[in-house]
């Protein structure tokens, strides 16, 4: 005999339960190389799902997890999780096995099992580990002791849409994710997800220009999602003041932010979370910039803004208002006192129209007008008001003038409605409120008497060739002008920056007054000085300013750490669905109209500054959010939240399933078992009556790793009265199993002891046919269970129905002959053992014989031997066994396998 010839041999163990683990460890300890296939994410099998083991009431996890760790550390064992054999071919004495490896979409070399991916994942699914009684995320680790302890992503299909919304959003808000949360009623989670990348959710939920909606792929089917309105809904469900402050580790670095607008404050917010000491300076008396002083109350209530800024202050940011840089403090002084500077002074100056009579009293620029109104100054507009311009500021001015009591308000715009830069819904609201727009008109002169305005002279325009912005340029029509009598004119033609103060540190702003930066990092030409927002771009949108602030914060942190200032990874441009894709999706998802945002009536709203948009009801919000195509699929929606949260970059959505061919000298099968599904036993009401559960579900309910953390609860309350029914799906021809499942009598006794240990004075009944306590220490355990007060009733209940309080069990007690009616809170069905799902396929690819019930046929004198030479079976694969018997059969299978490969 060639001594130790088995040491170069390879054995395949199929199944990672206690049977497979035993066999694998024994083989490995003899020097054999073992490949362990596990169909699920972790080894541990059924045993790791148990709370305790009988008769010693040892914690199953405590007993088994060291063995699992042993497997993972054993050099001779390689675990292939999410894997199963597809085909087996005999090759000499051994086998060639084709193995299917399902991908985790996780680089297991990088994953540290920290769990942050799961925390953020917005897709909530049922946990198989918890017998579907509790939730898990689409990216998950089934239980803390899992081996391999690596996350997996449960991706069932590709996302039907392109998630153009996320790509279009300057701050890449996880739209898919928060819509998924809202559609399933998790409003706070939705809020937190929005908050994760946006320090001003209540602002963006109201006044964002929503580039996401413009590109929403559902819009190609019917209507785009109401993404902004749903954000507003999520925001309304939650009080910012109750938000907890995260743990912050201080860095002792000081950063100055110039300008308390959205860019400056967003930057300050992110810097504070990084632990830097941040001071924000602003010239105006209150922080908020344009949000505070330009946007009218009816669109963005000041109180909402104050709360958002309050949170930023709670993060430790100091806001010093009423301090103008260049006047109150010199920028050079700030540069000396701080480690870095972010300039975000915006574009606070209204641009003049440049026509005669602009200095007349009664002509005011829009920004000044709005600032005055928002500062609470008493502003009087005339009877007839004309607002010059077509942007959002112009619309805001017009609607504000209306609310201030002006009889007639007109908007004068030099192009047509199609070219108006104001948001579509704002223009609609404006028209609804009775404000007229005079298109293709421009004033050329204001006139009046005694320095007061009395009218303006206008000319007609027509559209010419497109200009640099792509809009058609207005060209004056030759001919006489005409007069419009007005007593107030508000000009809203654009804004400019004020950047002269930067010269103190040697900066030279561009001709138009903007500061030039690297748009990807926010860095200016001067070390340690960054800028962004309107001061760089000229007037733009809130969300762009937030994005600029965040970009700068990231760069500043890198700068303060002394690292290279690299831009964040660029995102792809928003994509459209192809026509075929649209057609396919239309078939799958019938058309659903967008739910309009409820608003106050026009008559009511024009009289005051109360908020116009009322907000969705929870039902409306859920219905609207569930229109999102991404949320319609099972499993991972590829929203990218896990990628954002994973610190080690372990998520890889490009990974693919693999099929590999491997050769083995022998195979040990340990496929394990499933449990009988008692739904077909209608008389017990499983699945229809609340409180009727299976033994395995009870196991998860009482386990600390279970959905309740180990508290035995029913509808949130501790049940007191329990009824156990044994032999459900065992010793029962009707259910197709004449055999005894060998474990249910004892696991019932174990459950009773768990209840007796944890619940005070419970009432416990057990229905049985024979109590089969045959193993070592089992009979004694059964005796103790009876002595501790469990009432054993010989007889099987006829039916379970709903009772006044709880459930009513009708049972004939065969010992006394009487029919008893017992009221209980919870019924636990001791369901029997069934062959593992998929065992048929396994046997067919290996040409294995099965017995009448479907278990793998083995021989009682050569217990692990199957009909195929070289393939051995252990554990429940060949019939019901308890844990010690499974361990013994695992060892036996290993021994026979050793003998076979040593021949």
């Amino acid at each position: 005999m060639n001594e130790n010839s088995f040491q170069e041999k390879n054995v395949l163990v199929v199944g990672g339960g206690i049977g497979g683990i035993t066999a694998a460890l024994e083989l490995a300890s003899c020097g054999v190389k073992v490949t362990m296939l596990e169909e699920g994410p972790s080894i541990g099998g059924r045993m790791i799902q148990l709370d305790k083991t009988f008769p010693t009431l040892d914690c199953a996890t405590c007993v088994l997890s060291p063995k699992m760790v042993e497997v993972s550390l054993e050099k001779n064992i390689e675990i292939l999780s999410w894997s199963k054999p597809l085909a087996v071919k005999k090759k000499g004495k051994g086998f060639q096995v084709t193995i299917f490896k399902k991908t985790r979409y996780i680089d297991t070399k990088k994953c540290t099992a920290c769990g942050s991916c799961s925390t953020g994942c917005p897709v909530v699914m049922k946990s198989e580990f918890n017998m579907n009684t509790g939730p898990r995320k689409a990216v998950y680790i089934p239980f803390p002791q899992a081996i391999p302890n690596k996350a997996s992503i449960d991706k069932r299909e590709d996302r039907p849409c392109k998630a153009a919304c996320v790509d279009a959003c300057p701050i890449h808000t996880n739209v898919l994710g928060y819509l998924k949360h809202i559609s399933e009623g998790r409003f706070k989670d939705a809020y937190m997800l929005i908050r994760a990348t946006n320090p001003f959710p209540s602002v963006c939920g109201r006044v964002c220009y929503a580039p996401c909606e413009g590109v929403c792929n559902r819009g190609q089917l019917d209507d785009p999602l109401a993404i902004r309105d749903l954000k507003r809904f999520a925001v309304d469900q939650f009080d910012v003041n109750s938000l907890e402050i995260p743990q912050i580790t201080r860095t002792e670095k000081k950063v100055a932010v110039i300008g308390a607008g959205p860019a400056g404050l967003s930057c300050a917010h992110d810097l504070a979370i990084e632990g830097h000491d941040v001071t924000v300076f602003d010239a105006l008396p209150e922080p908020g910039g344009m949000l505070r002083y330009a946007i009218p109350e009816y669109r963005l209530p000041k109180e909402e803004l104050r709360k958002e800024i309050g949170y930023i202050e709670r993060l430790g940011v100091r806001i010093q208002c009423g301090t103008e840089i260049g006047k109150d403090i010199d920028l050079a002084t700030i540069k000396n006192d701080f480690d870095a500077i972010f300039i975000a002074t915006g574009a606070p100056k209204g641009l003049p129209l440049g026509v005669e009579g602009e200095d007349l009293s009664g002509v005011i620029d829009g920004i000044r007008f709005l600032r005055a109104v928002n500062s609470g100054e008493k502003v009087k507009t005339g009877k007839d008001v004309a607002v010059i311009g077509g942007g959002n500021t112009a619309v805001d001015c017009a609607r504000t003038a209306k609310r201030l009591g002006s009889e007639s308000v007109k908007l004068i715009y030099r192009r047509t409605r199609d070219e108006m830069p104001a948001a579509h819904e704002e223009i609609e609201a404006l028209l609804q409120e009775g404000i007229e727009i005079q298109f293709l008109t421009t004033p050329i002169r204001f006139y009046g008497e005694g320095g007061s305005l009395s009218g303006m002279e206008c000319i007609r325009m027509e559209l010419g060739e497109p200009d640099a912005s792509g809009r058609r340029r207005p060209v004056p029509i030759k001919g006489p002008g005409f007069s419009i009598p007005v007593d107030s004119v508000i000009t809203a033609l654009g804004q400019a920056t004020q950047t002269a103060f930067t010269e103190a540190i040697g900066m030279s702003p561009a001709k138009n007054g903007t500061i030039e930066i690297d748009p990807l990092t926010g860095a200016t030409g001067i070390e340690g000085v960054f800028a962004g927002g309107d001061v760089h771009t000229g007037p733009a949108y809130v969300v762009d300013a937030i994005a600029a602030g965040q970009r700068a914060a990231r760069s500043i942190t890198l700068y303060l750490k002394g690292e290279e200032i690299k831009p964040a990874n660029a995102r792809k441009a928003p994509e459209k669905l192809s026509e075929t894709e649209v057609a396919e999706l239309m078939k799958r998802y019938p058309s659903l109209e967008r739910i309009p945002m409820p608003e106050k009536k026009v008559e009511e709203r024009v009289t005051n500054f109360g908020e116009v948009a009322i907000g969705y009801s929870p039902e409306q919000a859920r219905a609207e959010a569930s229109r999102c195509l991404a949320g319609r699929i099972e499993g991972c929606i590829q929203c990218g939240e896990c990628e954002r949260l994973c610190e080690v970059g372990a998520i890889d959505h490009t990974m693919r399933d693999e099929i590999v061919d491997l050769e083995f000298d022998s195979i040990v099968l340990a496929p394990g078992f499933d449990l009988y599904d008692p739904t077909e036993k209608r008389e017990y009401g499983y699945g229809t009556l609340e409180g009727v559960i299976t033994g395995m579900e009870f196991e998860r309910l009482s386990s600390v790793t279970g959905p309740t953390g180990g508290d035995i609860l029913l509808k949130g309350k501790v049940p007191k009265r329990f009824y156990f029914i044994q032999c459900v799906g065992s010793r029962d021809r009707q259910s197709g199993a004449r055999y005894c499942s060998r474990v249910c009598c004892m696991y019932t006794a174990k459950h009773i002891n768990i209840i007796l240990d944890r619940i005070k004075e419970p009432e416990i009944y057990v229905s049985y046919i024979d109590v089969r306590a045959y193993g070592k220490g089992y009979e004694e355990f059964y005796k103790t269970t009876q002595e501790r007060g469990a009432i054993y009733i010989r007889g099987v209940p006829g039916e379970i129905t709903k009772a006044e309080s709880g459930l009513l069990v009708r049972v004939e007690d065969m010992l006394s002959g009487e029919i008893r009616e017992i009221q209980v809170d919870m019924v636990i069905l001791a369901t029997g053992v069934r062959p593992r799902k998929g065992i048929e396929e396994l046997c067919s690819i290996m040409s294995l014989e099965r017995d009448e019930y479907g278990f793998i046929r083995a021989d009682s004198i050569n217990p692990s031997r199957t009909n195929v030479e070289g393939i051995f079976v252990c554990g429940m694969g060949c019939g019901p066994k308890d844990i010690p018997d499974t361990v013994a059969s695992g060892g036996e299978a290993a021994a026979r396998c050793m003998e076979y490969i040593n021949q």
Partner: protein, 557 residues
């Protein structure tokens, strides 16, 4: 002294309820602590590299890892030290996950406790010295005690794998109880045929020596090199073996212990084993009336047999079946408590037996009264709550399994433990059902509790593969935690010799002091605790170490 302290967050596990930052900051200020760091996963590769770096750069001579339970990742962290050229016994593990973080949610209290535990570890580890694990050669030979199906299975496997096997059977023939079974259920085969086939397979092997009519008189030594003394018909024989599988089976329950059964006093009252062997010679009438009593010698606390014997229900069914097959017109009634037809195919067998006409009565049998016309059974029907009295021509007692007669002797010889019912005790009832507390000594089959044929075969091979795994390495590490004697303090009282479990203490008649046989010492510390003159210490666990560890818990901080 340069100690490095590494505190693990264990992801959220520890960090969530223990302030790890506070801990690492605190220990930075303690004397003799050169490095104090916290890290998200000390067990991860970067975590291990961090330790290695610190050892190499800072010249650490003690490493404390405050993380999960020491039994987890123990060998791995020892390896980290080895790879950094530091003796692995200079590592101290402190469990702040199981002992602090998982205990409750009170961050302050948990952190305080963790601080104490680490401090205790720090004080204790100051006394650590480098220790060496010795390597000892292992004999590639095995002793198998018992020639029943379990012992035969073990012997066949070991010999086929190339081990030299000594099989010892106290009876003249191999085969144990299975040899006398006529019809082994569910195989449907003659027991003699089965065991002879197995014995034949074993005898074919060259490296096997079988000793029948032989007993073991002595067994000593240590794993890898045990010395066994056999008493064979040819005289005494001494063997050196690496390890042993004990498969000494069971003894059938003797119903004579229960006088109310009248067993032995009337020939019409027999056991299942006797029925098995003499069913042809029983002089039964044409339509015999037969009673079968379950649970004789099982589930009976009064006679000290509280356990279920696991196999007797099926044995009772076999009797009923055999009677019905032979005498169609017979009246067969089985008196039972529960019918435990649990093995594979058992339930179907039970149903078939009922269909053949065997009656099953749930009853407590009170007494058996032999009369000239028949044997009367008096008892209580526990289903109907009525007493009954019925007359039979034959009463078959389905007897249980009792612990083997030699259990105490063998347990003493091999220094293994017995359970409350005098069966051998396994190291862990669930996951280590073949292991004992003594390295290299395994137990198999019904000597650790009642088992049927299939289960005994499983046990035989499963225990053998475990022993093989150990022996096949060819060497073993001897843990360095062993006792040593200060001969100057030893008074030669020899109390330690009695305390020692593993015969490791040897007395020197000449010098009148003891010394420790290092390879045999298991490091249990019993001698250490017993010695009245504090002459014995345990390497790696010396008294000052423990004193200082305690002061780490108690001192004011």
């Amino acid at each position: 002294m340069k100690t490095g302290i590494f505190i693990c967050h264990c992801g959220h596990n520890i960090k969530h309820t223990v302030d790890v930052k506070k801990l690492s900051e605190y220990f930075k200020k303690i004397p003799n602590v050169t490095v104090s760091k916290d890290y998200v996963f000390v067990c991860s590769e970067p975590g291990q590299d961090m330790i290695k770096d610190a050892i190499e750069k800072e010249g650490l001579d003690r490493v404390i890892i405050a993380s999960c339970t020491p039994s987890l990742h123990g060998p791995m962290f020892k390896d980290v030290l080895r790879k950094s050229n530091l003796n692995p016994f200079l590592l101290r593990r402190v469990s702040i996950r199981e002992h602090c973080a998982w205990v409750g949610n009170d961050v302050e209290a948990n952190t305080e406790k963790a601080k104490r535990l680490i401090l205790a570890g720090l004080y204790s580890s100051a006394h650590y010295v480098p220790l060496e694990e010795k390597i000892v050669d292992v004999q590639k030979s095995a002793l198998v005690v018992g020639g029943g199906v379990s012992g035969l299975s073990a012997a066949i496997f070991l010999s086929k794998m190339g081990m030299h096997v000594y099989l010892v059977e106290k009876e003249a023939a191999l085969g144990g109880h299975v040899r006398i079974l006529k019809d082994v259920w569910p195989a449907g085969r003659d027991g003699k045929g089965i065991v002879e086939e197995m014995a034949g397979e074993l005898e074919k092997q060259e490296n096997v020596e079988i000793f029948t009519s032989t007993t073991i008189t002595n067994f000593e030594g240590f794993f890898g090199n045990y010395e066994a003394t056999l008493k064979t018909p040819e005289g005494e024989k001494r063997l050196t073996v690496g390890g042993a599988v004990l498969a000494i089976g069971f003894s059938p329950f003797d119903p004579g212990i229960k006088p109310e059964l009248q067993y032995g006093k009337d020939k019409r009252i027999i056991t299942t084993l006797e029925f098995e062997n003499n069913s042809d010679t029983l002089r039964l009438p044409e339509k015999p009336r037969v009673a079968i009593l379950h649970c004789v010698g099982s589930r009976d606390e009064q006679i000290g047999k509280p356990y279920c014997s696991r196999v007797c229900c099926v044995n009772a069914l076999r009797v009923g079946n055999a009677l019905k097959d032979k005498h169609k017109e017979s009246y067969v009634e089985s008196f039972y408590m529960d019918v435990r037809a649990h093995p594979k195919g058992g339930e179907e067998f039970f149903e078939d037996t009922q269909e053949k006409g065997v009656l099953f009565t749930r009853a407590n049998v009170g007494e058996i009264i032999p009369t000239p016309s028949g044997v009367v059974i008096r008892g209580e029907d526990t289903l109907f709550g009525e007493t009954f009295e019925r007359e039979f021509d034959l009463v078959v007692l389905s007897i249980g399994m009792s612990s083997p007669k030699d259990c105490k002797l063998i347990a003493n010889t091999f220094k293994i433990a017995l359970d409350k019912d005098n069966f051998f005790m396994e190291a862990h009832i669930k996951l280590r059902p073949f292991d004992t507390a003594v390295k290299g000594i395994f137990i198999a089959g019904s000597c650790s509790g009642p088992k049927d044929v299939e289960e005994s075969i499983n046990h035989g091979r499963a225990s053998a593969v475990k022993l093989f795994g150990l022996l096949n390495l060819g060497y073993t590490y001897v843990e360095p935690f062993i006792s040593y004697v200060d001969p100057k303090r030893c008074s030669g009282c020899r109390m330690c010799e009695h305390a020692c479990f593993s015969n490791a203490i040897k007395y020197d008649e000449e010098k009148r002091v003891v010394h420790v046989e290092e390879a045999a010492c298991m490091g249990c510390g019993l001698c250490n605790a017993t010695c009245p003159s504090s002459a014995i210490s345990l390497r790696g666990y010396i008294d000052p170490m423990i004193d200082d560890e305690i002061s780490g818990f108690t001192e004011a901080i």
